[in-house]
Symmetry: C2
Subunit: 519 residues, 2 copies
């Protein structure tokens, strides 16, 4: 066997063929899927890590066309080797989608499996190692981990080890976990209980700007998907597996208010010329109080109420508020005693930025001509981005402001005592699927089986925003977000990493998912 492994390592034999030789007993029963995959990772852990490392070593920034295509082709080939009919979908000016189909004769259910294979840009200067040269550590760097060689076949693998590389957590981890499952099933003849559609995006970190076009242009390929499962992001802060039934939407705007046409000496004109920083503060203060209540009329009116199941789930969510407050140096939070998960079920208004004149070393004795606020608005189910922006604008008008889209000309200035330029906008709505949908409950059950207990965290909706409305509203399909990466994977940051435990959990989860009852 040692000889065969060497031949694999040297590339003399395709891994698929070898695995077929090693595990030559076809197994049919669905209930054995979890067993097969687990046994496979226990036997082939070292190779799984090496192959994952191979995937991680291909640079995958969305703007790096060569790297992106190399990733796409690498993944497509790995899927094909495992029996998945795979190809690259393309559109002009867009990064390719790695698309795969594993159709199961007689299956009555089709799962859409979304992953993105691109990663955040990385400046090597800020990393301990090159971002695309994966390094194995004995545990996290913060916990005092040390680099160590990748294991030899048969060597015991500590699940606390971590692989450091860009995209190790976000979002190649699901690919690294799926491939071994597919390989083990392929080799052992395990048949999934659902049709599987693999849909791996290559520009999520660049804003998924072509996702809608892909979904529209290739609708024929995805029409029969019953549920979209989105494998992205980290699990719960507690380390427990997380399943999230929704995400918030997002919109926003910039508001600029105007004082004099030029900066004025604050001595010669102070107490006479309107001060834009003061005007802006007065305007913003009418929008939200210190307790976190947005005072804009209608801001909460379109919120779609949570169902019974969602409210129960919220109540069961771990309460990490006290710990978070300690960590973040906060003696209070908005909307107390409501918890963080509860607060995320409401739209939010955030002053993301303020600027006017200068502060600190840049402060001058001047009444500045303008003051600007960057406002972010997070949306929940029921909020329409355009309508929410209109509410904010109506509120600004109610404070006596004339709204413009460009810097006002002299005539406009002289005609209106208060002028606010409101720009920006766009955004997209929230997405949420009902927790009681049977197909989603099946996925939850699969996660529970993989975790070996009931201890998974169910969230009615996460706080972050992703354009999942494309699936729920545009395609009219339910969604479920199922992250597998460790919560401290430093995604988007230097020294991103994946904890091996989470890779193993992913393998176990996909095995359960692909063989869940029904279908």
């Amino acid at each position: 066997m040692h000889g065969i492994v060497q031949m694999i390592n040297k590339g003399f034999l395709p891994a698929t063929l070898v695995i077929s030789l090693l595990t030559c007993l076809p197994v049919a029963a669905q209930e054995t899927g979890g067993e097969v995959a687990r046994s496979f990772r226990e036997t082939n852990g070292a190779r799984i890590l090496r192959e994952y490392s191979e995937l991680l070593s291909i640079p995958n920034v969305a703007s790096d066309s060569a790297g992106i295509w190399a990733n796409a082709e690498f993944i497509r080939a790995r899927l094909a080797e495992r029996g998945v009919e795979s190809r690259l979908l393309t559109l002009p000016g867009a990064n390719p989608i790695v698309f795969g189909e594993l159709r199961v004769p007689g299956a009555t259910r089709t799962l859409g499996l979304y992953v993105h294979y691109d990663g955040q840009p990385a400046d090597p200067a800020n990393w301990t190692h090159d971002p695309w040269t994966p390094v194995l550590y004995t545990r996290s760097m913060e916990a005092g981990g040390e680099p160590r060689p990748f294991p030899e076949d048969g060597e015991a693998i500590d699940p606390e080890w971590r692989i450091y590389a860009r995209a190790a957590g976000d979002d190649k981890a699901p690919i690294g976990a799926m491939l071994p499952v597919l390989e083990s099933f392929h080799a052992a003849g395990v048949t999934p209980t659902s049709n599987l559609i693999f849909f791996f995006e290559g520009e999520e970190e660049a804003g998924s700007t072509n996702l809608d076009r892909y979904l529209e242009s290739y609708s024929g390929l995805i029409d029969d998907i019953d549920v979209w499962l989105l494998f992205d992001g980290p699990v719960h802060q507690s380390g427990r597996p997380l399943l999230s039934f929704g995400v918030r939407g997002v919109t926003g705007m910039e508001v600029t208010v105007y004082g004099p046409t030029r900066g004025l000496h604050s001595g010669h004109y102070g107490n006479w010329a309107p001060v834009p920083g003061q005007m802006l503060a007065n305007l913003l203060a009418t929008m939200k109080d210190d307790d976190g209540n947005v005072l804009i009329e209608g801001f909460y009116d379109t919120v779609e109420p949570l169902g019974e199941l969602e409210r129960e789930a919220l109540a069961r969510l771990p309460n990490y508020d006290a710990e978070l407050k300690r960590e973040l140096g906060l003696a209070r939070t908005e909307g107390e005693p409501q918890t963080l998960p509860e607060r995320l079920q409401l739209p939010s208004l955030t002053v993301r930025g303020l600027s006017s004149g200068g502060t600190g070393q840049y402060a001058r004795n001047v009444i500045p001509p303008t003051a600007t606020a960057a406002l972010g608005v997070r949306l929940v189910k029921g909020n329409d981005p355009t309508h929410m922006r209109e509410l904010v604008e109506a509120h600004i008008r109610k404070q006596g402001y004339h709204i413009v889209r460009e810097d006002p000309d002299m005539e406009t200035r002289l005609a209106h005592p208060k002028i606010a330029k409101v720009t920006g906008g766009d955004g997209y709505p929230a997405a949420r699927s009902a927790m009681d949908l049977p197909i989603l409950q099946e996925v939850v059950a699969a996660a529970r089986r993989a975790a070996g207990n009931d201890d998974v965290v169910l969230s009615p909706g996460s706080g972050g925003s992703l354009p999942l409305y494309l699936f729920t509203d545009f395609l009219d399909k339910p969604i479920l977000m199922v992250p597998i990466a460790n919560h401290d994977d430093l995604q988007h940051a230097p020294d991103e990493n994946l904890r091996i435990w989470n890779l193993w959990y992913g393998i176990d989860f996909y095995a359960q998912l692909f063989t869940m009852p029904g279908g």
Copy 2:
């Protein structure tokens, strides 16, 4: 005479001697002072411009020690040539004061004549010509003026010509106007009616940081001064001569409020983590309304009311509000229908700067850890800087804030729901002298005689700040600010200039001042 002028120009003869030859008739009568100076400038205009140009060509930025000393020595020598007993006062680490005395036997009145010979820094890249290479223009650049050679002796001089150079207006103009007056008096034997003490500072544009030490260290030299006349700044916007009986004081602070210890994802934490930009806006909104009323308790309580004469003067001040509003693109001002001069008689609170997170291209989906406002406070007579800052701080406390002087540590953060760091401070009080003081009324009369009519503008107090409390409070002497430079002299800016009319007016004014009745 042509030969003599050539000899002067070539430096063969000292100007003083030549003038004595030219105007060899001693005149004693005070009432002829104005005549003598006017006749002198009409005859010697070209030379006056050349000599002023010579003064302007010596770089005079306060930090340029060599330039400063060259200026000081140049001016001292010119004073000495004109019969003024002059010397340089020095203190370690300070730029010298050009000090001169012209004691008049029997005079019962002593005038302190303050000018500063240093100028603002100038970046030649932003100037049409080198800042310290004076260039004569046929009128202002904005009005389409063209450069022209300095005039030959006897050539007619257009009072609309302008000399472009750093400090041409601010603040060498009074020196350029005084020297010819002294020269003409010296030559013609005109005796001033007051003792004259010349006190020319060399670091006003660097904050007059040693002025208090000078006034204290050399108190014996200035003890008998009855009134300090401060020759600085531009005349009224209308172009009419201005006499101002006071200036505002100034103080200020920076206020920083705190959210989470690090920037937080506005999706994952928005609606839960306190947003410092919102907190700051809410705080500032409690301080001042959109009509310009400061809402801080006690803010207006210590204002020393204006006297009858001051109120009358205010009412008589030209109302330039409508024109200013048009120019500045303002459809409203704070405190309408009160006028700009009226508003300057009250303390002001100005948001000079705001900063938190980013706006525009720097906006991010983040709840920033802090938000900062730079607040400027202008003071009027009666306001104590420390007391006014305390009022602002008491107000901040009343809004539930715990005030700190340094960024709060974790313990402080966790102990206080709202924390504001308040830093900065210092500043100095306003200064104002009563308009009905006889000696000040004499100076007003001198200005009216120089202007040839009643059309001078009397202001109870200007909006800008200067540390004139050193004269009014520390020395306990009345002050009067008597600018002579054109209002559009672009002081502190590139292409600073002096209109020749204003130089002529300055000459006429000093002649009247030095020979005013009484004394």
